[in-house]
């Protein structure tokens, strides 16, 4: 089974990875960590006015993205020693690249966080996750941090902490 885990550089990505690690997976599972670097500089016109600064930012972003994927890969390999874990960096619009990556790799499932970087309390679902869910060729799982199990787990750990503090 081929699973794409789409990660961005938001705090939500850690939660997605936590959930993947908590899950049971079949023995033949193969993970691909996917990170899409969006063309930030080209939009701002920075690349034209200050090419050196723009190049520096691009390089820094690429290094950061590689580190993000490598860390995630290391964590998955540690958790699932028998699983094959790849990572891929793509450039472009995240909502398109995730769907294309799923089609190219013939993935069975895409796992993506409900929110990305632009977390707003009124925004119940990010535009990338919405677009991927609508256009994906395979099944899509949208992860939310407010799952009931997580809430229960947090409540339990809070209670434990309170008990310890009481002692």
């Amino acid at each position: 089974m081929k699973v794409i885990i789409a990660l961005d550089d938001s705090p939500y990505a850690k939660h997605v990875l936590d959930l993947v690690c908590r899950r049971h997976w079949p023995l033949d599972v193969e993970f691909k960590i996917l990170h899409v670097i969006e063309p930030l500089c080209a939009d701002a016109g920075l690349a034209l006015d200050y090419p050196d600064i723009a190049r520096g930012i691009e390089e820094q972003r690429a290094r950061f993205a590689e580190k993000l994927c490598a860390d995630a890969r290391h964590r998955l390999e540690k958790h699932f020693p028998e699983a094959r874990v790849h990572f891929e960096l793509r450039e472009g619009r995240a909502k398109n690249e995730i769907v294309l990556a799923a089609a190219d790799w013939e993935a069975n499932r895409i796992i993506i966080g409900a929110h990305g970087k632009n977390v707003c309390p009124h925004n119940l679902m990010g535009s990338v996750s919405r677009s991927v869910a609508e256009r994906s060729p395979c099944s899509v799982e949208i992860i939310r941090s407010g799952s009931h199990a997580q809430t229960e787990k947090n409540t339990a750990s809070k209670k434990e902490a309170e008990l310890k503090a009481g002692r």
Binding site: P137, C138, E141
Partner: protein, 168 residues
């Protein structure tokens, strides 16, 4: 872990969800709540039908729903070797029904199928999966309907066409 499996009274989507579950693995002790939603599609046709006919149609839908649920639950018990499978039936609009049930049952994951409707049909008919994805409080897994290979192929073809257009 608790999983809510939502069916929409169609055998096609039930088969898709079954195939998906067959290729996945769940932690022992996972609890499954299986719900079949019967959409309120009769009021539109009520003008042309007598009350007796509407009643009979409703009874037929309920019988069909029960048959689908029972068959699916039996297959699922064989597949997952899990006794923790409950069957529920609900009537109403699918999206709000699933969300109301999720509030009651508090699952960790909602699994539902998608008919993969596109363009105008999506705009007119709406999409249960889009509704649930946007408003659910827990994680949602949308199982893609239809044959996976065909979808990958069609997406690959459209991408190639777009790339060729861009080259021109």
């Amino acid at each position: 872990m608790k999983v809510l499996l939502a069916l929409d009274n169609s055998q096609e989507l039930a088969d898709c969800i079954y195939d998906f579950l067959a290729s996945h693995s769940f932690k022992p002790g996972t609890e499954f709540v299986l719900v079949n939603i019967i959409e309120n599609c009769l009021p539109a046709a009520v003008g042309a039908l007598t009350p007796v006919m509407v009643l009979e149609l409703n009874q037929d839908l309920c019988r069909e729903s029960e048959r689908l649920l029972r068959g699916f639950a039996l297959k699922l018990r064989d597949l997952l070797h899990s006794p923790n499978i409950r069957e529920l039936s609900r009537a109403g609009s699918a999206g709000p029904c699933i969300l109301a049930l999720a509030d009651e049952e508090k699952p960790d994951l909602i699994v539902l199928g998608s008919h993969m409707r596109k363009g105008l049909s999506r705009a007119f008919l709406g999409s249960v999966s889009a509704y649930v994805c946007a408003a659910a409080k827990c994680s949602v897994l949308v199982v893609a309907g239809g044959k996976k290979d065909e979808k990958h192929r069609s997406l690959g073809q459209s991408t190639n066409m777009k790339m060729e257009e861009a080259k021109i």
